[in-house]
Symmetry: none
Subunit: 211 residues, 4 copies
DNA sequence: TATGAATGAGACTTCATTCAT
DNA sequence: AATGAATGAAGTCTCATTCAT
């Protein structure tokens, strides 16, 4: 829903604006995020934001969409879910995934927060653009697992979804948190720590919902 | 941290104020919650709120504490965790637990939301009063499990905690959501649905982290 | 439509607020009238205005109502239109009327402007509170005249109303303009000029629509 | 006062711009009229407007002038006022006049509104370009009448002018309003209604100020 | 000359908090 | 202690005007 003015902008500027917005939203939450701060950080005038978007909510919603598209283009192209197994999904390309988290901790954190229902009052509207995609995607992973026999068949999908979401959200947040802490010093130790969390998660997931 | 003026109030009024606050916070989030609305719903004057609490944040923080204490007094006295096993913890007195969720869906939802990090900017402050209690409590459950041999020992406690929290939060929210839907018609069907979710959860938990 | 907060105010303050509003609206028009200026001139805080009224439009609409009521209470009690003839209506108590115009040129000008359709975009809403009263009143004067035989019966009331309104509005505005010019020097000469205009108006009215 | 850039434009484009401006001004009033909307409706870029005119006010003032000239060229050439009598002025060529009103209700309404003092804050500036012309013209009609003996000589011209303006403005607005209502269905009935209003007006005018 | 993106002053409105009664 | 009116800082959004292409 950005205005056409925004779409006509060169990519670099578009990205600057959205990243500034996401940062502000993550740090202060939707209500306390200031348009003026976003504009300043993006290096544009306050008024320009309103030439690009209808209002703050519009900017927020587009930021959500933008993040999602960003990941769609980056992660998931690398690990296409075709016949991907739920567990393999996380282990495959974990290094690349970590790289991404390390490179874009803000974006990852933003996406996870949006998905898990922080940004409360906007959740409904957010879901229109996002959950339908996210949840659908997750259900597909689960269905894949059941078909291949790697997911227990005695529980209904809704319960499995809750389980899957609960576990992966928490661990993702933890990993993002770790990634944040080494902004400029990506030691191997930390890779190990992250990988350890990831393996533990998969182990717990597999035990919990596997068969 | 309420002022002494608040403590001198009769319990009934204290409760009215806190419940009004919690409702407002849950519906609108911290930033958009209006002191005036809280006062009106509590049946007191706006100015009175400021005779009871320093400011909005103070009121919020106390609401958090109050909820916790409410549950401490109600649930956990019923199911003392002494030598309680992690899994038994949920199944034991599940009926009583459901009754409580049915009776106080708002309070439960509030507590879960606070715990899971919605109310973003306040999370840090909230944790001072709460997480130390909550997480401590959860770690104790996990430790109990390890001791009794019902929790796998090959994973460190931090990973287990994430797993445990992720799963239980998601399912609790789901169950609260169900409880909300039958405000006036607590059918047996719904008890069954809730119980089914709970059993599934325990099964997933047990498989995941048990041994 | 003021809020109850406004009604609870003491009359003196209410009047100060409304008069400040009317002055601002008359000088700058609705769009350019600044709430801050109104508040300052009324000696209250900007925020207070919003405790009294929903928004600028609400304040405007109430100002219209207030003026009307002011006149209802002042002029028309003096010259009750009972069996009043259209022409006598203006000549009777012309002195009192002039006094009023002299005393309240702003209010008179405001009322005339509102009535004659300046304040364009608000005209519709204004009429709900006002025209129904004003026009009804004028039609009654015309009807009285026809009954008594002092108004020609060969023209329909709608045409007579237009004629009557057109003439009286223009002359009223002129007289108000004169009244404005002697803010502090109410010479007898000026009374004469005003009275002259008034007599001319009545003469033209009488010739035009009389018989 | 348009810039020379504007004058170099081909007539068709000039007209498009001015008509778009007039429409916007009439619908929304001066303050709320948006340059962008005018540009869009005229089919030019927003920036172009500023190549043609100094600012919004300049555009407005020129629109006023343009309308006036439009009428000067269309009506008044048809009914040259040479030795025209005030009353004949309206009846002569009333059909043509109606045609014009029907064809250009917006322009007529705009002119009347400008003349009668809506567009409040601009009235002064407007008059510099316009009233001097309009009023002069009207005074000439009155003078003509007095000379020919068709206008009463016992009243001074200023009073007669007010009377004349008040009556003609109101009736014109009414007729324009009727013309607006049949945008696509110019029935004979409506011509009759308009003519009836016109005759009534002339009758009232003649009685009022004639002798 | 035409375009439309960029700018930022400015106004409305909200609401936590204070204060007088 | 209770009340609710008063306050004003702060933030969103608008749009006339400028400016670079």
């Amino acid at each position: 829903m950005p205005k056409k003015t925004f779409n006509r902008l060169d990519c670099e500027k578009k990205e600057r604006v959205i990243r500034a917005a996401i940062e502000e939203f993550q740090i202060h939450g939707f209500e306390k995020a200031k348009i003026e701060a976003i504009a300043k950080n993006a290096g544009v005038a306050k008024g320009s934001i309103y030439q690009y978007f209808d209002d703050k909510k519009d900017l927020f919603l587009y930021s959500v969409t933008w993040s999602l598209e960003y990941f769609m283009e980056n992660i998931d192209r690398q690990t296409p879910l075709k016949d991907m197994d739920v567990y393999d999904y996380f282990l495959t390309g974990s290094r690349e995934r970590f790289e991404l988290i390390k490179k874009e901790p803000l974006l990852v954190a933003f996406s996870v927060d949006v998905n898990s229902g922080k940004y409360g009052s906007l959740t409904k509207e957010t879901n229109d653009a996002l959950n339908r995609i996210g949840e659908e995607y997750e259900l597909k992973l689960i269905a894949n697992g059941k078909k291949k026999g790697t997911v227990r068949a005695d529980l209904d999908d809704r319960a499995l979804l809750l389980f899957f979401q609960g576990v992966t959200e928490k661990f993702t947040m933890k990993i993002v948190e770790i990634a944040r802490n080494f902004e400029f010093e990506p030691t191997d130790d930390l890779y190990c720590e992250m990988e350890s969390y990831l393996k533990n998660m998969v182990s717990l997931l597999k035990n919990g919902m596997g068969r």
